[in-house]
Amino acid sequence: MIGPAALAWRASASRWRVAESTRRTAWAYLFIAPFYLSFLAFGVFPILFSFYLALTRWTPYQTTFIGLQNFVNLVQDNLIHTALFNSLWLMLVIGTIQISLALLIAVALNARVRGRELFRGIFFLPYITSPVVLGLVWGVIFAYSGLLNYLLGLVGVGAVDWLGYASGSGLWIKPAIALVTIWQYFGWNVLLFAAGLQAIPREIFEAARIDGASDWDVLVKITLPLLKRVSFFVVSITIIGSVQLFDAPLMLLGGVAGAGSGTLGGADAAGLTLAMVVYETAFNYGQFGYAAAISVVMFGVLVVLTAVNRRVLFRGLED
């Protein structure tokens, strides 16, 4: 027998039960508080603030709202054009070579090669080395009388002015930056592809073999299509990483602070990337609003490129 009081109690209890899921969510948020509080303060807020900053002329002493003036200006700014071209050039070259190389090695290592763990470790080593150390070491390798030109000399190739210091020409600066970056990051891509390959069930390959598929057929018709999701991730982080390229060019070409002869981005500004322009504009020239506008453009470029990448790679896939 259930009285009205008991019914009321039940109703309130069921309200409590509804609230239970909310309560659980609340607890979950409390548990991740150390991360999300810092993330809100140091991740989300600066990102949103930079959108506002891009609409201002901002110095430590005053903020003036100037609407879209910064964007109008940067459309006409030659330095930004050069940096955008350099960043896209590096993205295409680094992306193409790095991803093909990583895929090739990952597929090769996926076969039962003796000591493949060792190879994976070796390929991964550059990735965990400090970019500053890499910059210094590669600076010595690329020097006009450096190691690389010495080796080229041994096989009868003339010295190449990699960093443009000897001839004042920036012709080889981008290839040099691309070389360092590919060398540094391809091991990480190998690892991602290897993980993707291991997730493909062996039975599919076996079935294909029984049906008489060649190695090439297996690669093109089975391996690559089934790697699409991993490929999307790899291509996306490569695009983002190479457009945001900063440390390698800075270390290779930065010159020394205060020396008075360091040229921004090397000869012909050939090694000047968008991220470098953002940094220099804000912290060396004190033009924070303009720098924020450049970074908003950079963000836009990345969103478009990632969206295109998604369309291309997922074309024909249902979800």
Binding site: N73, G258, G262, N284
Partner: protein, 455 residues
């Protein structure tokens, strides 16, 4: 069930507290500052003694050179018992960024900051006007090298910083390389034989040909431009006008001539091959600030005592580098900051103590009467080199700073490299740099600048 629920709650709240803790630490919730406070020692037996002790002001000072600060601070604290200096050594490359961030946040700004000459333009607005109360630095003006004192005066007549050292330029050269090329080796004779840049180019050709191309007089021709540009005042903007053409054209033409004569070693200054080339004698001279002596002695060629001499640079006196002391508008202890700034920049004994440790020559003229400037420098083969730097200091052409100096320097460097690579004429190169600077100053900083044409 109950216990696990309690534990869950406990853990959740701990994580919240932890999160807030991290946040507050990262946001720089500053520890309570103890200034000005009573410095009565804890062990003092009576309250009376606490009343007698003067209150201690804790002064925060940022600078990139430890040796000079560690020399001057104990001397200052000795003569100023009411002030305790908290020196924060800042890496050269990071200091201006940190300063900018502190100014933007309006928090954590030091009371005193030592700015390299290359940073002054960017922070002209940040400094308190030292000509006004309570500083009245104008009273000290006649004791300072004129151009050095006037340089950081803004368009509105405010003195943004006090000069510390003059950083006179000299020519460091290797007598062995000069002798091998049949050139004079004694400083006075070298100064006479290489009085201008044409002489320098001729000497460079002699050194190249006599050494079979092994030795060059200069690292690369950009250095020739730099020295010439500094000799003309090294100014990028003066009176609202970009003066790259009048300041830079003749030096760039000289540098182009030097390139045509192939006197350089194709090694840019401060690149990784530069120091070894100086050490091995592949580069026979360096035309830079006198502070280079410390670099040669301590970093580049420490075993090369006697290898180098200094003399008057071809084309005459210039200044390259040097430090200014600024009291930020946002400084907390301005009175004590000024006492420190005045001591550092105009106490002859303190200046000479720093000079003897570091070799940087003060801009405060009364300090120069000390015999320490006539002492022989063992590293330079016993040459009394500092009197030369002092004498040259007074012949430097006036310079001015502007907020777009850093940008202008980058733009002009790129165009000078282009001109030296034969991609443009000196006139075109500087015109391009000037137009780029005009455009970007207007666009990003709303600074309307004119362009001064060739004189």
């Amino acid at each position: 069930m109950f216990i696990s629920r309690t534990l869950q709650h406990l853990a959740a709240w701990t994580s919240v507290v932890l999160g807030l803790g991290i946040l507050s630490m990262a946001c720089g919730v500053a520890p309570a500052r103890v200034a000005p406070t009573s410095s009565a020692p804890q062990s003092s037996p009576t309250n009376a003694s606490a009343a007698i002790e003067p209150p201690v002001t804790e002064l925060t000072v940022w600078y990139f050179d430890k040796v000079s600060m560690q020399t001057v601070i104990p001397l200052f604290e000795q003569s100023h018992p009411g002030v305790k200096v908290n020196f924060v050594e800042q890496p050269f490359g990071d200091m201006s960024k940190k300063y900018l961030a502190a100014l933007a946040a309006g928090q954590g700004v030091p009371d005193v900051i030592g700015l390299d000459t290359s940073m002054v333009g960017q922070f002209l607005d940040a400094g308190d006007n030292l000509l006004a109360d309570p500083y009245n630095a104008g009273q000290l003006k006649r004791d300072f090298v004129d151009w050095k004192f006037n340089a950081p005066i803004t368009a509105t007549g405010e003195l943004a910083a006090m000069p510390w050292d003059v950083a006179t330029g000299v020519m460091f050269y290797r007598p062995d390389a000069f002798q091998a090329a049949g050139l004079p080796t004694e400083p006075d004779q070298v100064a006479k034989a290489i009085a201008n840049w044409d002489d320098f180019i001729k000497a460079g050709q002699a050194i190249k040909s006599k050494s079979g191309g092994q030795t060059a007089i200069v690292g690369n021709e950009h250095d020739v431009f730099n020295a010439g540009f500094w000799q003309n005042g090294g100014t990028i903007v003066r009176d609202g006008s970009i003066v790259l053409l009048p300041q830079g054209l003749q030096p760039l033409q000289t540098a182009t001539k030097a390139r045509d004569a192939a006197i350089g070693a194709n090694i840019p200054a401060w690149s990784e091959r530069w120091a070894p080339a100086l050490q091995s004698g592949k580069i026979a001279s360096v035309v830079m600030g006198g502070w280079m002596l410390g670099n040669l002695q301590n970093l580049i060629d420490p075993d090369g005592s006697g290898n180098w001499r200094v003399t008057t640079p071809p084309g005459g006196a210039f200044s390259n580098g040097g430090t200014y002391i600024q009291i930020p508008k946002l400084a907390e202890h301005k009175q004590a900051a000024w006492e420190f700034t005045r001591f550092v920049t105009s106490d002859a004994d303190a200046l000479n103590a720093v000079f003897q440790k570091t070799g940087i020559v003060p801009a405060y003229k009364p300090a120069w009467t000390s015999p320490v400037y006539d002492q022989p420098v063992a590293y330079l083969g016993g040459q009394p080199a500092f009197r030369l730097m002092v004498n040259l200091a007074q012949q430097v052409k006036p310079m001015t700073f502007s907020p777009v100096d850093a940008l202008g320097t980058d733009l002009v460097n790129a165009q000078v490299d282009a001109a030296l690579a034969g991609k443009s004429s000196p006139q075109q190169a500087l015109q391009t740099a000037a137009s780029q600077l005009q455009e970007r100053a207007q666009r990003a900083s709303d600074l309307k600048l004119g362009i001064a044409s060739t004189p």
